[in-house]
Amino acid sequence: MSEAQVTAKTAVGDFSIWVDQYGDYLFKYAVFRLRDSAAAEDVVQETFLAALRGYERFQGRGSERTWLVGILKHKITDHYRKITREAPLGQGEEDEGPEHAEFFTRSDGWDNHWNNNYAPTEWHATPDQLVEQSDFWRVFHDCLAPLPPRTATAFTFREVDGLKSEEICEILGVSTNNLWVMLHRARLHLRNCLEMKWFKLSAGTRQK
């Protein structure tokens, strides 16, 4: 995009077209990671404002949406950094998530091994299939909801965005050991929840 075009775009103030063009996408991207519509609206607004201010630097290199998503990612981590600053980790009494001791409680002398009621079953699914099924994502979010916010956030940063451990620890203000406990609890809980609410039900009906 030439300099004249950039100026023209700024002059007519058609940045609001962006809101119609990319607003929904950015909003859904944010909701998936923040699990809170009001907070998602805020970070999307901040993203557009930052984009407006930094448009000259962008100058049409690459796709606008990719550029906007890049800004949005920063706004999302900033959002969590702010939460961490305002509410630092408590001393020891932090809730990292359900321990689910019942998964490994047995009455036959094999304590600490899987209780038959909670033992994993075989799943028949591939990532490609799951990504396409919107019902699966509804169940996924229902399963994520009962986790403490910090634990759910650690999980999405790690598993969805693939952030490095050190980065997540810094954003959320937790130690590496803390993070591992949070991730383990999140996985333990989610795996079971998805099995109960999706994979066991889908075995007969959805999978062909």
């Binding site: 103030g13 940045f15 609001s16 962006w18 809101v19 119609d20 607003g23 929904d24 996408y25 950015l26 909003f27 859904k28 991207y29 909701v31 998936f32 519509s37 609206e41 999307v44 607004q45 557009f48 404002l49 407006l52 949406r65 998964f103 490994f104 304590d111 600490n112 091994h113 899987w114 033992a119 994993p120 079953t121 075989e122 799943w123 699914a125 591939t126 990532p127 490609d128 799951l130 990504v131 919107s134 019902d135 994502w137 509804r138 979010h141 999405t156 598993e159 969805v160 965005d161 693939g162 451990s165 993070l179 591992w180 991730l183 383990h184 996985r187 333990l188 989610l190 795996r191 099995e195």
Partner: protein, 105 residues
């Protein structure tokens, strides 16, 4: 006869291992950490042996792997992100953002 004896011996070895290896509760914790760091040789061996006698923990590992692959695929998927989950930016928010943008700040 020979096969029956072999099966019996295999069962005995499994039982012996099951009593001596870390239990499932501890194993799934190590399995979870295997997604975060390089396991020690000792840990890798215990997990391998545990998998040999316990299909449940083996499935647990497979499920974590499937979840990670699915979520990473989801994060880069560009089209049709969860219209079921959230309908998109509300009209109010849309208008508010547009006003902020056109007011220049």
């Amino acid at each position: 006869m020979k096969i029956a004896l072999y099966e019996k011996a295999k069962h005995a070895v499994r039982f012996w291992l099951l009593r001596r290896l870390p239990a499932c509760k501890e194993t799934v914790e190590i399995v979870s950490q295997s997604f975060e760091r390089q396991l020690s040789l000792r840990e890798r061996i215990t997990v391998k042996l545990h998998f040999w006698i316990c299909v449940w923990c083996q499935w647990y590992m497979e499920h974590l792997r499937l979840l990670r692959q699915t979520l990473r695929a989801k994060s880069t998927e560009t089209s049709d992100m969860d219209s079921s989950l959230s309908p998109g930016l509300s009209i109010d928010a849309r208008e508010r953002i547009k006003r902020r943008l056109s007011s220049g700040e």
